[in-house]
């Protein structure tokens, strides 16, 4: 991340709109993921509420917001999905859905690029490499 993050009013999370932005995005994003046949089998958690809470935590992190996920958490949390065949194509599809969600919410393209960049930092951990 760049030095601009040091000034609180300049963080990506604040520029994108903070928690209200996460709340606006989470249902749209989760709906897209559940209807995307490339990836929805990875999200078929029987408990939809818990799954939705996980999506919210993910979006908060992707928006540069407060989180305390470590690389180790990412590895552990996705290990069972690797066994189901999770690979780069699925990771790309999730990022694509997130980008489409933000476009739908009229988030400027340069902020979307920053969100995508944050997602990229987790790719190797998510895919267990």
């Amino acid at each position: 991340m760049t030095d601009t993050q040091a000034t609180p009013s300049n963080t990506l999370y604040e520029r994108i709109g903070g928690e209200p932005a996460v709340n606006a995005a989470v249902d749209i994003f989760y709906r897209k993921v559940l209807t995307d046949h490339r990836i929805n089998r990875f999200f078929e958690d029987v408990d939809m509420e818990k799954q939705a809470a996980k999506q919210k935590a993910f979006l908060t992190m992707a928006f540069g917001g407060p989180h305390n996920y470590t690389g180790e958490d990412m590895r552990k949390g996705h290990a069972h999905l690797l066994k189901m065949g999770l690979d780069d194509s699925h990771f790309d599809a999730v990022v694509e859905n997130l980008g489409a969600t933000l476009t739908e919410l009229n988030v400027p393209q340069e902020l979307i690029s920053e969100v995508v960049a944050i997602c990229e930092t987790t790719r190797n951990d998510v895919l267990g490499r």
Partner: protein, 323 residues
């Protein structure tokens, strides 16, 4: 420093501590996982005072109303009494005043209480037999001046508790009743919102309570009730629901039968399938789903995909205790 009281024990909460941190330090057995408000594992309840708003972020409206909060996000602003989810409950004694059949396998049980029994229509209680056998049942009515609670009890083959209620209980007998639980109930806000109610079998019990509550509060938005069972003989309260739909132009009642024999006035198909075909976009709708666990879980997802916001979907899956 504030005091945290759990049952008869008091714990201290230091100024910089969350309730969860304090309870863990004091070695209270409380479930938790993420410690940042995401997983909801550490949800507890404050029975007497409203918890700080910051500790209720992300919870459903009905949970907030019942003073549930996340221990990991709670910095107390005063002394608090805390109820852990698995904490032993306070039971009151109810006396049976009505036990009659609603259809060939569903019993209407009405209990009366000496003191006012506070609850929200749609919540459930645990009923307990003298030997300790306990089962959860949904309350089917709204709070009454007569302090009565109504239950619909389906006879399950080999079901110890339901067979006892069907075969042995009689007016005048007493049953221990827990405090009300659950967050599947109506809140009288956004009265112009559409409401979708889908239930199978005795899933009608909480839905009937929720429906009565909404109509009593003058809910003006459209209300659709889809009640289903395999055979028409397993539906009940059909005439009452039809009457309500004649009295309230915004209420629509669609009884569904999934077997081949479908009498006139009933719709063929499972209640959830019929509901999905009948209803258009559910954006902005409030959804209540009660009954068969598979139906409930599937419908949570389907109504969400049809546009209902996840915060507006309330569900009560009826789990059957293995015989």
């Amino acid at each position: 420093m504030f005091k945290l009281t759990i049952e008869d024990k008091t714990h201290s909460c230091q100024p910089d501590e969350t309730v969860l941190d304090a309870l863990l330090r004091e070695e209270v057995n409380i479930s938790y996982a993420c410690k940042k408000g995401t997983c909801h594992s550490c949800m507890v309840r404050s029975p007497d005072i409203q918890p700080p708003a910051a500790a209720q972020v992300g919870l459903k409206d009905t949970l907030k109303k019942r003073n549930h909060f996340l221990a990991c996000l709670c910095h107390p602003e005063q002394d608090m009494t805390i109820k852990l989810p698995d904490q032993s409950e306070f039971y009151t004694e109810g006396t049976v005043v009505v036990n009659e059949m609603l259809n060939r396998n569903t019993l209407l049980l009405v209990l009366t209480f000496k003191d006012a029994f506070e609850f929200n229509a749609g919540q459930f209680v645990n009923l307990q037999r003298a030997d300790g056998l306990t089962r959860s049942y949904s309350i089917a009515n709204i709070p009454q001046e007569s302090n009565t609670l109504e239950f619909h009890i389906r006879r399950l083959p080999g079901g110890k508790f339901s067979e006892w209620l069907h075969d042995e209980i009689k007016p005048g007998d007493t049953i221990a009743v827990s405090e009300p639980r659950g967050h599947c109930f109506y809140l009288p806000d956004r009265t112009e919102q559409g409401i979708l109610l889908v239930g199978t079998g005795t899933g009608l019990a909480p839905l009937a309570g929720i429906l009565t509550d909404a109509l009593r509060h003058g809910h003006s938005g459209p209300i659709y009730l889809f009640h289903g069972s395999r055979e028409v003989e397993d539906l009940y309260r059909i005439d009452e629901m039809r009457q309500l739909s004649e009295q309230h132009s915004n209420f629509h009642y669609i009884p569904c039968v999934s077997s081949k024999h479908v009498p006139e006035g009933f719709t063929h198909g499972r209640a959830n399938d019929v509901a999905l075909v009948t209803m258009g976009d559910l954006k902005g709708w409030r959804v209540f789903l009660c009954g068969h666990p598979e139906m409930v879980n599937q419908m949570k997802k389907m109504t969400f995909l049809k546009g209902a916001s996840s915060a507006d979907i309330y569900a009560d899956a009826f789990l059957v205790t293995p015989v």
